[in-house]
Symmetry: C2
């Protein structure tokens, strides 16, 4: 079996976490390269070398990046689309795989909006340099976008049998929805409490994923990096606003 190499920033969950969850659920052998000591080729330098072209002319723009033998894939959704059929993390038929990928791309869009709540001006500036704009963006996000995305995924469950978004079966999209719900609950505990009654099926899916034996083992291990205020999901109490009204 291929031993995968994952290249992702070593101190955050970030987008890499969607790949880590899939690899863990698959019990696939992998090395989280940048988390190795520098003496063993780890550290952020390992990522920078790949971005710089060390593994060939198909330059990734950003991490996460997965190496599988001769294949190098970047872009979270593309990595998952590549990995999932190799490990039974998606049904075998092409339409289900296309649908799973489409959902993952919508998760990715949602994630950009979550990130930009604390970085509405520029990813290259500190949060502290864009607090005012962050507050304004977050207000809109929590009032309009958060319920829009959550209602969408809840409706997808309702329309597709209630338990899983893809063809009535577990897939990597379940893992991704779990991760985004965990992140929202961490970043916006008050605001999330205000919306969670709207999404009973998503909440049930979240608990089901948490209790999968390999995921439970992973979450209890030191391999799971805790949420923190360097990642996509950040808890800043002043941004955890309870929306009045709603969309």
């Amino acid at each position: 079996m291929t031993r995968y190499e994952l290249f992702y920033w070593p101190d955050i969950q970030g987008r890499g976490e969607f790949v880590r969850l899939a690899l863990e659920e698959a019990a696939a052998p992998y090395v989280d390269v940048a988390r190795l000591p520098r003496s063993k080729g780890g550290g952020e330098g390992a990522i920078l070398r790949v971005l710089d072209g060390a593994l060939g002319p198909r330059l990734p723009f950003a991490a996460p990046i997965l190496r599988a033998g001769k294949i190098l894939v970047a872009q979270t959704a593309a990595i998952l689309q590549f990995l999932a059929p190799r490990h039974g993390l998606v049904p075998r038929d092409a339409p289900s795989q296309l649908w799973a990928h489409q959902l993952q791309l919508t998760v990715a869009d949602f994630l950009v909006e979550v990130h930009d709540t604390h970085h509405p001006v520029a990813a290259g500036l500190y949060y502290e340099d864009q607090r005012k704009e962050a507050r304004r963006r977050t207000e809109h996000f929590l009032r309009h976008r958060l319920p829009l995305f959550l209602d969408y995924f809840e409706r997808v469950l309702v329309k597709n049998g209630g338990r899983h978004p893809v063809s009535g079966r577990f897939s990597y999209v379940d893992l991704s929805l779990f991760q985004i719900l965990e992140g929202l609950d961490y970043a916006f505990p008050r605001a999330f409490r205000a919306v969670r009654r709207r999404i009973p099926r998503l909440q049930a899916l979240r608990e089901a994923v948490r209790n999968r034996p390999r995921i439970a083992a992973y979450l209890g291990s030191p391999r799971r990096i805790p949420f923190n205020t360097w990642g996509i999901f950040r808890h800043y109490p002043e941004l955890d606003l309870v929306p009045r009204g709603g969309r």
Copy 2:
């Protein structure tokens, strides 16, 4: 041959334009549904019905949406990944297709950042209600992000033979790069002039795409919606800042 149905907002290029360019280059038979008169099932209502589930339980989150017989696909990059191999718009081997998709996903990320220059607070607010934040975001975008993305795609060309990003052959990614360069040049003519000398290969690719017979015919036809200030690429003179310094 399948007659495709494209569901996209009828008054803008937007994300739908990446699909239109691919369909035009392929000379694929398609109907741009929402541009039909209402009496023939067109108008924005046609899109809203699909978003509401009229075509089955695999609900799209947003337009563009492509219908191909029984298949319904949303998410621009997924639509292109689905279409391209059916029409020779990407090489046949799986690694080339994965690489093309990865590039398209990076184009999609770039596009979000372009959009958010004029909508840094909320897509649901008017530009006029977020002008101050837009100016600040655009300054950072033009100084840091625009050169970062353009340099990346230029380097991809350099590393992959100079003319095409994917396997030395024309692909839909050429079309997408053309579109993003056209849009940037429309939205930020002064700022774009300041960076274009850094990207000679991208500029050559852009001209080559413009001169492809089917693309040239399309661009000269009424099917090509002009750029305007409702789309992703918007020309607001006050945001067309020439960056000083820069990365």
